[in-house]
Amino acid sequence: MKHAAYLLALAPLLGVAPALAQNTPPPASVADPAPASAPVAAEPAPASEAAPAAPAPIEPAPVAPVAAAPAAPAPAAPAREPASLELFGSLSLSIAQGEPANPGWTNSFRRVGAYGEAGVAYRSKYFLDPFVSVGYGSLASGDTTLPDSDTLINGEPAYTAGTVHQHLGMWLISPGVTADIWRFRLRFGIGLGIVKESNRFHGEGNTATQLPLAWQTGLAFNCYQVPRFRLDAEARFVQAKGADVTFWTIGVTGRGDLVTF
């Protein structure tokens, strides 16, 4: 019902008829009205064949009102989709923006990764649904081969030639809101990014961490729906400006009602 309500509100702007709303039962107010209180005029009972020519006054036979028929529902307020506490999870391909600093030294570089997310949302009866989510993306990796360092420590190079294996990952903890418009769902969130830069050089691993603010925005399309479960295709843009990490994702999001109110 929520979809229909939004579409009704937007119809003048979109230039579409509310009947386009999908997954929406016809409102009770437009159903065939049951003439509950309007008795149907009964045909007069046929006069007896033995009756004299002067017709006796005929009283209409009592007719049970149609309203009494069990098939006819009484008019009621439109049914409203219940509010719910929704669990959701998504799995996506990610594409990181940016380049390695030293392309001439970088032997291999992968910017396509994976992003997974889980969260909980409150599907309210109103336009905006708040959510909080936690996601992690394995965003990029590369191998960079260095020559001997030209910085000397006690007469020796600060490091000897070798390959640095690099990996970029990011956690995103983000509250935000979604808004349903027909079968589309807009998403916006802003929260904390935890950028993890992992390196391995000469067998020694090291991870550097940065905690920038991060924001996300996305657009999903509801592809499949059954009671209490929905499946969306979703594209998303995530940016942690302070750490200069930006990536796109495209994938699927499953949403199920945990509790309805």
Binding site: A96, G98, E99, P100, A101, N102, W105, R111, A140, G142, T144, L146, S149, D150, T151, L152, I153, A158, Y159, G162, V164, Q166, L168, V195, E197, N199, F201, N206, T207, A208, T209, Q210, K241, G242, A243, D244, V245
Partner: protein, 264 residues
Amino acid sequence: MSPNSIESIRLAERIGSNAAELDVRVTRDGIPILFHDPSFSSSLVRGLFCNGLVNQLSLAELRASCLMRYGEQIPTVEAALDMMVNETELEGVYLDEKTPEGVLPSARLVAQLDTDLKIRNENDDPSDDRKFGALIGIPNDDVLDAWHSAVTTLKAENSDRIAAGQTPLEIPRCLLEYDSDKVIEEGCVAWGPTWTDGPQPDNVQKLRDHGIGTIFWTINESEFIEGFLTTSKPNGIISARAALLFQTYQLIGSVPAPLNGDQP
């Protein structure tokens, strides 16, 4: 051009500076480098894998993952000092120590440099003399504590060198940024107050009476450059507009009274 790059030091010389102020941090493996912020950000560096705090990456990881914003390499303090002495005519550097961890490795480099220059200037060949001074900049009490510790360490190392028959290293000189009275107390050769505290002519004169110079940072507006030059007559001003400072000084500046000892 990125600040704290080798290229920016060359440019500073070309536009009239006679010294440079550089920001010092250390890598995870203890190598002092020139970088201003505590963490890597897109405003200062480039590189998809250039993330985290400066002291979380080793020099090798830094070289593999990071360049400065406009493509320059992040220099080590050693490389910057070497370039300034051998490839420019700059007369000094003020190493602004952003963390306590950077003080001892920077002080070791400066001690070695001062010693090399002293030997070079005291030999019989005046043609290779080189006038250059490096100061360790102390912005707060944490760095000051590290400075005390570094001096103690260098003096202990000098004792070992003397015992081994080697030439002891010069103990570096310091510049204190915050408390004018502490500058005298600590025996630093210069005071480096922020310009936002005003020209403070009385403090400048008080320190001058003790043979201590004053270098204000960082004044970029012409009216303030003019005001500070005429009001307190400092020994130096750090500015991103060195050419403007040079021109203003030529027009209205005056040479401060000579200091008692060495000056930057």
